[in-house]
């Protein structure tokens, strides 16, 4: 059997990108961007996670099935967040009811 073998330099490169991302998040937290602070924070975090998944976890070179399985967990998480938040964000839309 033979999986994809990536060069060492690539792993070090990804590691460096992750370090930069971490520093960037901390620095971005120091700058007042209003609501954009959260957006920047999450964007950086998602990018870092994507780098880990694609390269450290080899999804970049994996079968389509692995892509689907890896994505399904996040997709179901979004279902949970989305349908729960549509309750919390719409409390009080209809007058005279809860909150």
């Amino acid at each position: 059997m033979s999986g994809h073998v990536a060069p060492k330099s690539m792993y070090v490169g990804i590691w460096f990108a992750l370090v930069v991302g971490t520093v960037l998040t901390v620095v971005a937290a120091e700058v007042d961007m209003g609501a954009l602070n959260n957006v920047a924070m999450l964007l950086i975090a998602c990018t870092k996670a994507a780098l880990v998944i694609l390269f450290f976890m080899h999804v970049r070179w994996s079968t389509r099935l692995t892509w689907v399985v890896a994505a399904s967990g996040f997709f179901w998480l979004l279902i949970m967040f989305g349908l729960t938040m549509q309750d919390y964000l719409t409390r009080g839309w209809v007058p005279g009811t809860w909150r």
Binding site: M1, S2, G3, V5, A6, K8, Y11, V12, I14, W15, L18, V19, T22, T25, V26, A29, E30, V31, D32, M33, N37, M41, L42, I44, A45, K48, A49, V52, I53, F55, F56, M57, H58, S62, T63, L65, T66, V69, A70, S72, G73, F74, W76, L77, M80, F81, T84, M85, Y88, L89
Partner: protein, 243 residues
């Protein structure tokens, strides 16, 4: 047979299978091939797929906590921000970097096994991963101790000086639940690493067979990813520019 149906009444058409003579074994079986798999490739694919399926379970396991975080932060953003500022940002950042380093050594450990490097190299990278992992837990312990001393642990002894004591207690409940569950995963990961390191030391892994290292690596990287999200969500809420 008591059934009203019998095979005479209903003509039988070709059965859905052709049972064929067993193919002659191509070559000697790999010693680590389990009996119910056809070949090493099938075994490796099954193992990695199994770990990925498990990780999608883990996403939703942590997901319940993230859901609670989202709802309560939405309910009291100011309280969460105030509580978040009491966390030690230096240790949080350091720990993020420590974990990223451990992910690198882990990836290199997998690569070392994959390319059939010497067992010393394999064990070296694995031990490096474990050292970073223990370092992470050590720093976490320092932080927990600090929270304990300052009465920031939720419960009857919780004490808060700021304007939002209740959301702060909620924040710290979530903080301990999330980082505690994460730390538990780290501890389990360290146990797995120890087993894998022993296996590597025995010289089991080579280009032909390195699935256990790879699967353990997937788990380790996943735990890293959880922290990648926990760090900004817990330590960096609302920015620190207000002092």
């Amino acid at each position: 047979m008591r059934s009203a149906l019998s095979e005479q009444q209903f003509p039988q058409y070709p059965a859905p299978v052709a049972i064929q003579p067993a193919p002659a074994p191509e070559h000697a079986h790999h010693p680590w091939l389990q009996h119910h798999f056809d070949n090493m490739e099938q075994q490796a694919e099954a193992s990695t797929l199994g770990m990925w399926v498990f990780l999608s379970t883990e996403i939703l396991f942590f997901g319940g906590l993230f859901m609670a975080y989202l709802v309560y932060r939405h309910a009291s953003p100011e309280g969460f921000q105030e509580a978040s500022h009491e966390l030690n940002r230096f240790w949080g950042t350091t720990n993020t970097l420590v974990l990223i380093c451990s992910s690198l050594t882990m990836a290199l450990a997998v690569r070392a096994a994959q390319t059939g490097q010497s067992r010393k190299t394999q064990v070296g990278w694995l031990l490096g991963t474990m050292v970073f992992g223990v370092g992470f837990l050590g720093i976490k312990a320092i932080e927990y101790y600090d929270k304990f001393v300052h009465h920031h642990v939720p419960g009857p002894y919780f004490h808060w000086e700021g304007m939002y004591p209740k959301p702060a207690e909620q924040f710290y409940s979530l903080y301990f639940a999330m980082t505690g569950l994460h730390a538990l995963h780290m501890i389990i990961g360290l146990g797995i690493m120890a087993v894998i390191a022993v296996m590597a030391w025995r010289g089991i892994f080579d280009e032909e067979y390195y699935t256990p290292v790879e699967v353990a690596g997937l788990y380790w990287h996943f735990v890293d990813i959880v922290w990648i999200f926990l760090f900004p969500l817990l330590y960096l809420i609302g920015g620190h520019f207000k002092g």
